[in-house]
Symmetry: C2
Subunit: 344 residues, 2 copies
Amino acid sequence: MTKTRNHVTQSERTRRATLRDVAQLSGVSEISVSRVMRNAPSVSDRLRSRVLAAAGELGYTPNRLAGALKTSSTNLVAVIVPSIGNGVFPEVLDGIESVLADAGLRPVLGITQYDRAQEVQVLRDMLAWSPMGVILAGTDHEPAVTRMIDQQGIPVVEFMDIDRSPMQSAVGISNVKAAVAVADLLAKRNYKRPGYIGAWSERPDRSKARRLAFEARLVELGIPLVDREIASVRASAEVGAKTTETLLKRSPDIDAIFFANDDQALGALFYCQRTGRKVPDDIGIIGFNGIEIGSTTPTILASVVTPRFQMGVETAKLMLLAASDPSTRNVIDLGFEIRLGESI
Amino acid sequence: MTKTRNHVTQSERTRRATLRDVAQLSGVSEISVSRVMRNAPSVSDRLRSRVLAAAGELGYTPNRLAGALKTSSTNLVAVIVPSIGNGVFPEVLDGIESVLADAGLRPVLGITQYDRAQEVQVLRDMLAWSPMGVILAGTDHEPAVTRMIDQQGIPVVEFMDIDRSPMQSAVGISNVKAAVAVADLLAKRNYKRPGYIGAWSERPDRSKARRLAFEARLVELGIPLVDREIASVRASAEVGAKTTETLLKRSPDIDAIFFANDDQALGALFYCQRTGRKVPDDIGIIGFNGIEIGSTTPTILASVVTPRFQMGVETAKLMLLAASDPSTRNVIDLGFEIRLGESI
DNA sequence: ATATGAAATGACAACGTTACCAATTTACGG
DNA sequence: CCGTAAATTGGTAACGTTGTCATTTCATAT
């Protein structure tokens, strides 16, 4: 037998145990240890228990780098989102993780800061780890993204909106339908002079598409948009108050505002109350996403409630499905619900 | 030369390009290609450009599984948190990611659901990938966690609280100091009958430690805690309203409540206003974390403001430091600030 | 007992990369 | 133009695992 190591260095002591160590201690072959660790079939109980004992004694942990190299498959899932600080993504991520974890898969996180070029770079970096799949936010990506994923031949699931057709599968809601529904609601409630407020963190096209659909519908309804304001910073309640102030100063006769997110909408709600405007009598407010706090405010915030956790769950489920059947091509519309609240 | 593949299968076409492919196309050795891809020194410009051309043509991406196996080092950082749906962790994670990304490192995400046993399991799973470091929430872990990390000999940084001594390094605030500060504030504002409200998502000991410190200080100040209520579900505004109702029904003479989180505190604030209790005249409310919305409410929420993003940033920086100098042992107290607001 | 097939076990060669050393080329002073 | 050192290039052997195939052991029917 070849003596690979003929000098026992200090690192010898702390070296991570390998299959070989376990095999030697338990007096079986390496491949048998491998089979035991993987719960592969064709292993006798006697051998299994002997191996497990040795593995326990050595504190052996399989080295997935080696295993993955050999099988060229990992339990890693690349999850790339625009942001994670606040807003909707943490909740979606929560749903994703909960399903992946049960399936023994691990999310590897990438954040793009809403920058398409960064998405490409992050994806490239992640693909070097041979993830078994990729989860992306939105359906609007650089061509390179599609190309790289196609080349790897792994499943992709896109979550958030389903207004454009996805690379393979997608889970989300129709932002267009939501925008139309809000416009219809405003008309039904007899608002005549609607406005729109968004923010930087709503930059991607799904938000723009939503706004355009909103404006188009308003025109159809005969109550065209009076004015809009898109903050150039991340959405927050503070910013919501500021943008509302700006918008109302410029167009004081606006009688309802559709916000691209609830943070701004709440800020606006509080701003109006502080400045003596009656909501919804003087001005109607409706937000987007249906964050929890909005349903407990003294004036309950109207909002388009999106199923964020469930979106994550369904996204991950679709990933599992695609893993077992690569031909999977699904688009799941989770729909939305309008919480009327008391602000509209 | 050995012909490794003598049958060109269909997969041959889609097979991911390897060093060998690039080497053959560019007419250099594999090791030279490796050097070019890693920007290793001792490569002539001529060779470099030839290799890069070939790599580009083949769409070659290095296989990190192989590289990592050989060097037994990765750019992966295991990040294990109790939860991610809402609350403080997304913001910390945001800070962590922003620093790691700049350093070319990737967070691999693990969620424990506040379950210590799960933390062990998740960590074990992640260590199989030989991460270059581990980031954990809190300083209270199963002995197995410490053991496994020690055995791997990699850096750990614990973030959140720094009241117990960390395995290696930690970044956070002192929950004990914060609790004492709140108790002192209540005394100074002449509250006499304080209460405490927490929730399930505050389960770990850092929250308990905070509560105990709060109670102990109140005793010292001669205004012992009147009553407390710990919701057995995740914190939310809705739950905050409910727990407040329960607490005040049981102990109607409570004149101030310290909440373990701002979600519940906001719910309580709204609940009191809805039910005609004047805040802070009838009852004082102070929360924990200082979430943004609390600073725009008509009655600004008093809260202990914690530097969550910065906590993530400093945590990741410490990880980088420990990566270059494994003997790093730091404890960074980021401190907190009390936003007095208008609710206390 | 013996034949027969199934179950259990093992030997060996990869997977794609990089560390380590050796070989070759280049640069430059005398 | 030569010798020497530095810079550049390459050969070989791992890293720790698993797929493939061969070999051994075992159970069962005859």
